[in-house]
Amino acid sequence: MLVAKSMPNLTKRVLPVLIACLAAGLCSVAAADDAASSMPETLEGHGGPVRSVAIAADNTHVLTSSFDYSAIYWLLEAQKGRELMRLEGHDAAVNDAAFVPGGDIAVTASDDGSVAVWNLDTGEMLKRFQGPGDKVLAVDVSGDGRYAASAGWDRRVRLYDLKALEEVAAFEGHRGNVNDVAFSPDGKTLYSASYDGTIHSWDVEERKPGRPIYSHGWGLNIVRALPDGKALLFGSLDGSAGVVDIESGNVLVDLAVHKGPILSADIAADAGMALVGGADGVVRVYRMADWILLHTFENPNGPIWGASLAADGTAAMLAGLDDAAFLWQISPRKSFEPPLGEFPRRFQVSSDAGPGELQFARKCSVCHTLTKDGANRAGPSLHGVFGRKAGTLEGYVYSDALKNSDIVWNEETIARLFDDGPDVVTPGSKMPVQRLKSVEDRDALIAFLKRATDPAASSVSQ
């Protein structure tokens, strides 16, 4: 009865690229003094899908955040991205990261329910604001660097004073998850977009609710304040995007409708350009003066979860399902060459794998490797795990729960981990729920792990 979804074939993936390339009059070389000339083709270093990307105002640095529980601070030089710092300390996927203007500070938001402030000189986590536990999806920072704000799935918009390192307000009013926040250009007003379909304003100085601005009906994923301070860019779950007048709440411009939810947007104020990206893999760049569509790009590898425009609008860094962020050189237009090979979803495995290897590939490999190199995945490498005391692998940032655990991993303790679940055996650890109800599956996995993680044996590819 069931038919598996067919994988996109090579033709389907490459064709849009070829069309884009031809439409652009084939590839050309960027001028030496624009942002595009300094940007690397890719930023590779994360061990899980990249969720957000932010280019610094001077185009010299980038922040990326990922499912691998970390954010990375990159230095861009000579079309290369050098990993300056890995910001590790969140206990779950990091959904968003933003630079704080006027200082080497960054702010991140995570699935672990917290917002963290980081020193980008030292990599130290300066402060962690722990909410009630619900996902925090987005952060924004005011133009003067004084405040940060977060959008949480506890239906609240939270405001943080970055000088005092204090949470100063938790705004209530949305009837659904809050998906995005944006400061006004003068930093006095905060706007939030919610799954309840509305955009709401909040008074930063008075720290009290403003008013509902706009009701779209379908849930809203994106809100950005436009540089003139009079209008907002929004993106919705129904694929529509537009510009709404703050004063009247009227939609001023309907932008092109995407064939899937809008997932990302960015504004390059000086360049007068705005970018909108969707689950359909389509990215559109508009001229804000008249909202004329300037450029369209289709990512053959699927959705655009994160996007950041360089200040001069000549390039954008995009993030999708892959473990790397990649460059879209907008002007002069250059084609994007997707890496050939497998579609970037690598946890489906062939049926000819043994039962234990099958369990590992499907349930463990997204967060763990079997080799010495942990590949920056969300969990520690399992190489040599048998006989190892929990929380002791050098180089991995463990939770206190595991650091203080007396567990030594062996057949019995690993069996218990999958019988009762990590929430029972290692409560407070970063490991998500994973139980094996079948004794046969559990035993096959343990037998495979014992063989594949044995330092004396040759490692198994993953």
Partner: protein, 197 residues
């Protein structure tokens, strides 16, 4: 092969929540998870309408497009299902679903990482049809038994229709001819653009 679809006629829904209860009971859904819910707009005011909402098993399902581990698949009857073995609980699909269908049990060390659960159109999952493993993970596979989803079967006003999309839309068309368009079949155009298969 029929293309299975849901249709909720907002002119008929009386907010009795029988669909929600039927779903929870038939599939033994744990506490805290609602695969189906009834949403009321303009509550207590003129123009009040209720709609029964769950996964619509969209033609071009956005959840399938955004899943980083490709855990979704679509059956040849158009039902969108997923593998809980592959799901990593990342929540991307909730962020992409216009109908708020994906649900996550709050059992993880960090709440948001439980395996996703959603309406299966009473069609189970990738395990063998009507096996114990399938029921444990996904609930009843009524389609394999030749039956339709219980939520729609239990609907006393037949506001919620489930079944062959052509038959469902023809029933709705007859209602419109008889009574006028009213408040419409909420979500139909979004889930099945152009009447998509």
């Amino acid at each position: 092969m029929a293309r299975m679809k849901f249709l909720c006629d907002a002119e008929r829904c009386i907010e009795c929540n029988a669909c929600v209860t039927a779903c929870k009971n038939e599939n033994e859904i744990p506490w805290g998870i609602n695969r189906r819910r009834v949403v009321t707009i303009n509550d207590g005011a003129e123009g009040e309408r209720s709609i029964s909402v769950a996964c619509m098993h969209c033609s071009d399902a956005p959840c399938m497009a955004v899943c980083p581990v490709d855990c979704f698949y679509q059956t040849d009857e158009g039902v969108v299902l997923h593998s809980k073995d592959l799901c990593i609980g990342c929540g991307y699909c909730f962020y992409a679903c216009p109908f708020g269908a994906p649900q996550y049990p709050q059992v993880g060390n960090f709440g948001s990482r439980g395996k996703m659960d959603k309406c299966t159109f009473c069609a189970g999952g990738p395990e063998d049809d009507n096996s114990e493993a399938e029921f444990q993970k996904y609930g009843r596979n009524r389609l394999a038994e030749g039956k339709l989803p219980l939520c729609a079967e239990m609907c006393s006003t037949k506001a919620l229709l489930a079944g062959d999309g052509d038959v469902v839309s023809e029933i709705y068309r007859e209602r419109i001819v008889s009574r006028g368009f009213g408040s419409g079949a909420w979500g139909w155009g979004k889930a099945y653009p152009g009447g998509g298969s």
